[in-house]
Every structure is written in C-alpha cells, then in structure tokens.
C-alpha cells in the first residue's frame, strides 16, 4: 500500500483506539458505584471519552486537512 497520508497517520488511529478502549465500559465491575455529573461513574467516563473524541476529530478536521489533494484514486 502507499505510505499513509499525514491526516491518516498511525498515531491518529492509536489515539482513537485508546479513547475507544476507555469509552466502551467493558472494564467496570457490575455495581452502580459513585454518581458523577448526575450519572453513574462508568457512564460519565464514557460521555467524557466521547467528548474527547469529538475534540480530537474537530482538531483533525481543522488542522490536519490536506491543503491540496492530488488525484491519486
């Protein structure tokens, strides 16, 4: 395959993978636990993870969008 483009670098997908791993509540014990932001802690962490993903995605669109794409496809 061709080298990955700057806006699709592996580190970008590594960040998404980490954020996803934190956001999907697979690692929590089966208990309600503390309530944060009006939600159970696991739900609050998931929402904050989603918010972080939104910020990261918006940043990529604004800062990493290639100036001029060539017609490779």
């Amino acid at each position: 395959m061709k080298p990955t483009r700057s806006y699709l670098s592996p580190w970008i997908w590594a960040v998404y993978a980490v954020l996803l791993a934190i956001s999907i509540p697979w690692y929590w014990p089966q208990e309600v636990g503390t309530i944060v932001l009006g939600m159970p802690l696991w739900a609050a962490v998931s929402v904050l993870g989603s918010a972080a993903m939104s910020v990261f995605t918006a940043w990529l669109f604004l800062q990493r969008w290639p100036d001029e794409e060539d017609d490779q496809a």
Partner: protein
Amino acid sequence: MNALPFGTGAMIFIAIYLLSMVWIGWLGRQAREENSMRDHFIGGSGVGFFVLLLTLYATQYSGNTILGFSGKASRVGFSWLASVHFMTAIVVTYLILAPKLFTLAKKHVFITPTDFLAHRFQHRGLNLLATLVMVAALLNFYLAQLTAMGRAVEGLTTLPPETAFAWGVAVLALIMLAYETLGGFRAVAWTDVIQGGVLAIGFVVLLSLIFAEYGSLEVTTRKLAEMAPMKVLPPKAAEARSWLSYIFLLGVGAALYPQAIQRIYAARSAKALRRSMAVMAFMPLSTALIAVLAGVTAAAHLGGQLSGASTDAVLGVMMRQVQEHSAFGHGLVVLIFAAVLGAIMSTADSCLLSLSSMITKDLYAGFVRPNASQEKLTSLGKWISTIIVLSLASLAIYMNNSGVKFTLVELLEMKFDLLLQIAPAFLIGIHWKGLKAGPVLAGMAAGLVFALSFFWVDDKSGTFMATLKTSGFHPGIWALGVNGVIAVGGSLVMTNKPCQPR
C-alpha cells in the same frame, strides 16, 4: 408523539411551518443556475458553511434520533450511550473519506456516489451492484421516515389513529415532494436550515423541560438505581461487544449513506466542508446524548406506564405531562413537536432526492439511455421522485392499516449490514491504487450474500452461523470481514501475478 392534544393556535403554527417549506422550494427554483442534473441534485456550485452544516446535521439526525433513541434508552438505560459513540464514529469515517472525495468530486463533477466508483474502478458490474445496494438501503430508510411521519401525527387529532396516520403520511409526503420538485437540492438544503435550526433548539429546550419537570439527573439516576438497577449498571461483556459492533456498523454504514456522500460533493469549498465537519463532531453530545438522558428520565419517572414497542412514545407521554402543567411548557412542547417533524422530513427529503438521482443517473442514464439530455434526465428525476413518494406512502399506509409486514421490508431492515459492504470500495479504494475492480465486486457480492444469509439463521440452532449471530457483533461486521479479505487479498494476488508471455 402520542396523545398531544394541540389547540388551534398550535395547529396554525405547524401549518405555517410546513407551508414555509413549500415557499422555500419556490425560492430554490428561482435560484436555479441551469436545468441540469448537477444543479437539481447537488445545487450547482454548492453551498457554504452555514447551510452545509445544517443540512448535514438535519439529514444525519432523523426522527429516530429523538423518538427511537429516547425509547431505547428508556428500555435499556444508560447502556444506550453507545448511540453517542456511533454518531461520533460517523464523523470519524468522514475523516477517511471526505478530503480526497471532495477534491475528486469538484474535479470530475460527481453527482452520485456511483460516479466516484465509475471514475475509480471503471467497472459496470460494480457500479450496478453498488447502486442497487444503496437504492435498496435508501428505500427502506425512506419507508421508515414515512411511517415515522404518520406516527408523529397520530396523537395530534381526534381522528381514529389509522385515519390520522394516513393523512399525516399523505400531507407531509406531498409537501416534501412539492418543495423538492420545485427547488431540488437547494430546496432540500435550505429547508434543512430551518428544520436543523428548530431541531437543535428543540433538543436544548427538551433538556431544560425535562430537568424542570422531573428534577436533576442525579435524582433520576438514584431513583432508577432503586427501581431498575440493570438500567444503571455498566454493560456486561456481550453488550460491550455490541457497543463496539454498533460503533463500526453505524459509524461506517451511516457515513456511506448516499445523501451523506452527496453533501460532501455539495460543499462550496474545502474550508466550508472541514469547518462543518468539525462542528458535526460535537453534535452527538447535543443531540444523541440528550435523547438518551430523556429516555433514562422516562424510565425513572414514568415507571410501568409504557412497555415494549410503545416505549418509543415515551417522549410524547413526557411532553403531555409538561404540557398539562403550564402554558409556557405548552408552547415549548409545540416547538419540540416541530423539531420532531423537521427531523423526520429533513432526513426523508434528502433520501428521496438521493434515490431519484441514483435511479436517474446511475441506472437509467448508466444502463438504458446514456445519451439522454440533461433536461430530460432532470425532468425524469422529478417523475421518479413522484413515483417513489406515491408508491412508498401507499405502502406505509397499507402496512399500518393491515399490520402486514413484507419479508422484503424485514430483509431491508438489515440496511446497515448491506451498506457496510460498499465500504472497501470507498474507504480503501480512495486511498489505495492497488485495489482492483474484480476483487472488490466479488468481495461485495460475497459480503452481501453472507450478511443476508444470517436472516434465516435460527439463533438457537447451535450452528457456526448461530454462534456468530449471537456473538454481539452484527452480521454486517462478519460479512465485511469476508468482503475485505476477498477485495484486498484478491487485489494483492492480481498485483503480484507475473505477466504471461504472449
């Protein structure tokens, strides 16, 4: 939204709101640059940041986001936060697709998603199969939006529910057809500005009304933890896998909706597109999250008032309670109803225009009359829209009255599983020159057959397929695995195959 008895004032407001869309359709016609398919289906030179953002938003968030998401959250509780993630994943998928696709679309004047495939692979079989998949998925989606229109109107009048449903579908579908036939993409995008604006405001109002009526989220969570702890507990392993599956299935599938791809084509500039996408990344937090919180609140405070499929009406029941308590709340409930209508119509009109563009350009001009003039094709597109509206509105009314559900309609409910099978052609094809048409077509066909075959698998049969079906991952994900292996593996084999001496 069941049982919301609106007075004359509210009905007049809704009527003006709906008629303003026809007026916008007429304005769209006045703004027409030329009588061509590009002008009708994509809006000529395209739209700027503000219109693009609101048309992306209104198209992506349908009536299902408000009614379906809140209903599902009332059934399963906080676990439906998965929806916030898959709505974000759609924007992440655009990150892979949009920059290159936008440049290609401007350079080669694309109108439909198949235009990209035709440019990239130059394979008529692939064009045909991909178009049929997209048309099938959209027909189902459009039928669902028509049904949602009928449901939204059902509780507003004193008419019997079936009659109100039929009138709701007929009147709203005709209004939509009128403004779309008049102004094409411009009318759809400009009405999306109103619909998307009302939708965005409606969600904020909804959140404030809920907190004012039922108390803080913490009160709700504590009450729910006592009443139904399962709705507050974190998901178990199988459900967590299901989260991941939803994120991939809907995140990629919904980004490949033809009307979504056509909005990338319709951006006036790269700057407008990337700014719109950057804002879209936050919309799940202001839309899907609020719908989930509304559903969770309903689960805690409405108790056993609703069960099963009727939980999709939780929002209607909550709004009726708000409405009964104050005149101010009454006005805001009318606004939320307008937001629901806007959400449904803005998604449906985009679907309709997209369907008509693909049938006209990809199927008719692509396979039947390649030399037809732009004027004739544009006119045909409008007739196709009319036929789709009349036939699917009749089907929606018939299915509602008779209770009959056709197997074909049930099959098409796997629309995301099917749409996902065009992903390699778009997401890999746009970045990797080595991807070949033959393996992509073979992979797509195999993926479709594999995904559809799950429909007939009995969950409890104990077979290999049943194990896959009950694994927490959707059939479309497994099928995409098969599809991807054939598409990429086949392309690699073809690339490495030594040239035969002549």
